[in-house]
Amino acid sequence: MRLRIRGVVSAAWWRALAAVGLPQERWRALPKLRRRAVVAAVWLAIGLILVALFGVWRTSALVIAVVVYLLALPWYRRLTIRGKPIGPWVPTAAILVIAITYPYYIGDLPQLPIFGPFPQLSTMVVMMIFTMMALGLNFVVGYAGLLDLGYVAFYAMGAYMAGWFASNQFAKQNVDFGAVGLYKGATGFHFSIWLVLLMAGVATAVVGVLIGLPTLRLRGDYLAIVTLGFGEILPQIARNGDNLFGTGFNLTNGTGGITPIDGPGFGNWAGQHLHLPANYLTATNLDRVFFWTSLVLVLITVFCSARLRDSRLGRAWIAIREDEVAAAAMGVPLMRTKTWAYATGAFFGGVAGAYYASYKSGAFPDDFFFQISVFILCMVILGGMGNIWGVIFGACFLAYLDREGLANVGAWINGHFGTHLDVPLYEFGIFGAILVIVMLFRPEGLIPSSRVAEEFHEGVHDEPLYDVVTE
């Protein structure tokens, strides 16, 4: 089926090329850069026509097309500054600039066909937060190859850390440590959110180690089930934690959740002298500062991901993923390495959870259910396990679908076909379908890392060959 579609498309492509005087062999003889230029131009032209016909046209679409065109062609591969090659950094830098300046041009963007307008800033914040979580899960699933179905527990842990240390949950205490925007006479722990983020990360990493130590010696699907169990137990503790063991001790405020949670901010001194936002929640450009802050957090996560991947520890993770027995034989300490993967992944999940709680100004037990774990897993798998760019793409795309995309698509479908489908209701079915389709047709993800791709394809046969299959 897939092959047949591909065949039809490629036949049409060769016919079109021959029509402009470029039969297959002359095309093959062209330099690679020029071929790529033609292909990219065709794709962009199709995209622009679609936007013009079915979306809402703005002149900025042309600018976008030019930028994408320049990025898609590797002309910059050999750029150097003072003899140092900077080629590989060009796309990264360009995407960073595009992301940082996003708030300034968001109003001038065209509308895409079916998907509608580009995501709003508040959606972008959530996309960034989920990118952090997905990158965190990528340590566990992508690098170390341990399936974690309970990642939501770390997210919940981070959110509740923010709830405990940056709200008036524990009203008997009264500690103010660099918090911003407190009213007079506020009780409870109020630490600066920046400190709380770090504390949440560390505490969650400790929880990750505690969960990991007894369970990580299990393999494969047993580990997945155990993590799923923890992912169900921790939120249940959050839900029932307003009266633990009948002692009346209110840990989590039960189903009501902990709210409000302090917002981030740099305080008045930094606000006056450095022009940093003193208190995010009262800032006039609230969404922008939250967006830029989450971007910084994502950058830190990406940096750690990339550096750790290439470190001794990261190579040990990948070795375990590829062949646990061989890795152990080569002297990789299995338990310690896996526990580190768990702790690292948990750390970023905790930071993201705490930041999300601060952004939403609340930690609610109903936010933490199994579907979120699968949602984040879906991001990692769709984008490409083990590949940072892939995971970022998967996280942004799925978080966007969750927040705006599905509603837009649903509105488009209902508007064009006169149906009354509630598309967001089927959100998790759609994600489930994504999981199945990706696993069946492209198990390495949309933007795969080459090692993962090889791993997935070395053992796959079209026909079950019983004499070859060993496991």
Partner: protein, 353 residues
């Protein structure tokens, strides 16, 4: 079904101190559990028996679902996440049969009731069996040679898809099933009446279990299943059509889930799209508790979990209550997986070593 021929061949010269600790902790825990039960029994015996009957009924339903997990795990070493949702669809089929096809309302006369139950049972079992076998064909078979986590991930995906199928079909709220089971008493023990609705659940479960045992132990097809579970390659070389055997296993597992779906719909009286997910996890825990891949183990584990759940939710003296049921069940799951991965009746496998 003896799944794992390979046993742990390492020779334990000396037991490690931690293993004694584990044994001691387990003994203390079990002791506390028994003490708690005895105190509850002494305090109000009739109440205790009522709760026990509920536990037995829960356990019967769990057993049918747990057997599906254990059959599939035994043959493919795959946790079929979608199994709970197949069970849920079974409940939906039964609800549709009872409400729309037979037009039954609460407390019908015996004749139509038996007809409705028998026909619904057949329909639910057939439909769920076919669905389960189709899932295997579509989502698991193409991944037979892929890394082990790949089919697990598609299984999770299928689970979500089935839930959304149920939402699209029946909507996101509970479907109420009329109380068609009679509620007269069967016998009385300790001042407690054992009622017909609970008895019918057991009456349907036991023959299904016996039929399954017969199928697996005595028939040619069952022999093929056991052979495939033991060693797929060797079974293929002996001329067993492995793909068909696996499909057949999924069919049987689905049929069991369908039967469980009917019983659930009849006994609990309501079904929703996410019923299967929660119950599926509980049933999976039951299968692990009994020793996954082991058929009598699954039944034993399901009864244990059923009793534990009923006692936890029902007993009056110091019981954690239904808020904590899931945490308790999952704690059991985790403890079993960590300390005794082979379960109560299973053999020690390389997986758990």
């Amino acid at each position: 079904m003896a799944t794992h021929a390979e046993t742990d061949t390492r020779i334990r010269l000396r037991r490690s101190p931690t293993s004694y600790l584990t044994t001691a902790a387990a003994t203390i825990l079990l002791g506390l559990l028994v003490a708690w039960l005895v105190v509850n029994l002494v305090k109000s015996p009739s109440y205790f028996f009522t709760i026990s009957f509920i536990g037995l009924t829960n356990g019967a339903v769990y057993a049918l679902v747990a057997l599906g997990y254990t059959l599939v795990y035994g043959i493919l070493e795959l946790i079929n996440f979608a199994h709970g949702d197949v069970f849920m669809l079974g409940g939906m089929f039964s609800a549709t049969m009872i409400i729309s096809v037979f037009n039954l309302s609460a407390h019908p006369s015996t004749g139509p009731m038996i007809a409705a139950i028998v026909v619904s049972l057949a329909v639910a079992m057939a439909a769920c069996g076919v669905i389960n076998a189709t899932i295997e064909r579509v989502a698991y078979r193409p991944l037979r040679g892929a890394p082990r986590l790949a089919p697990l991930i598609t299984a999770i995906g299928m689970s979500f898809i089935l839930q959304d199928v149920a939402i699209a079909w029946k909507g996101p709220s509970y479907i109420a099933v009329p109380q068609i089971l009679p509620t007269g008493r069967v016998f009385t023990i300790g001042g407690t009446h054992y009622k017909w609705d609970k008895f019918i659940v057991v009456v349907i479960t036991v023959p299904v279990l016996i039929a399954l045992m017969w199928l697996v132990q005595k028939t040619r097809q069952g022999k093929a299943m056991r052979a495939t579970a033991q060693d797929r390659d060797a079974a293929a070389m002996m001329g067993i059509n492995v793909d068909r055997t696996i499909s057949f296993t999924f069919l049987i597992a689905g049929a069991l889930a369908g039967a469980a779906g009917l019983l659930y719909a009849l006994y609990f009286g309501q079904v929703r799209y996410d019923t299967g997910f929660q119950l599926g996890l509980i049933a999976f825990t039951a299968a692990v508790l009994g020793g996954i891949g082991n058929l009598p183990g699954a039944v034993l584990g399901a009864l244990c979990i059923g009793f534990i759940q009923a006692f936890n939710e029902g007993l009056r003296w110091h019981s954690p209550g239904s808020d904590w049921t899931q945490s308790i069940v999952f704690s059991i799951l985790i403890l079993i997986l960590v300390f005794r991965p082979e379960g109560l009746l299973g053999e020690r496998t390389p997986e758990g070593a």
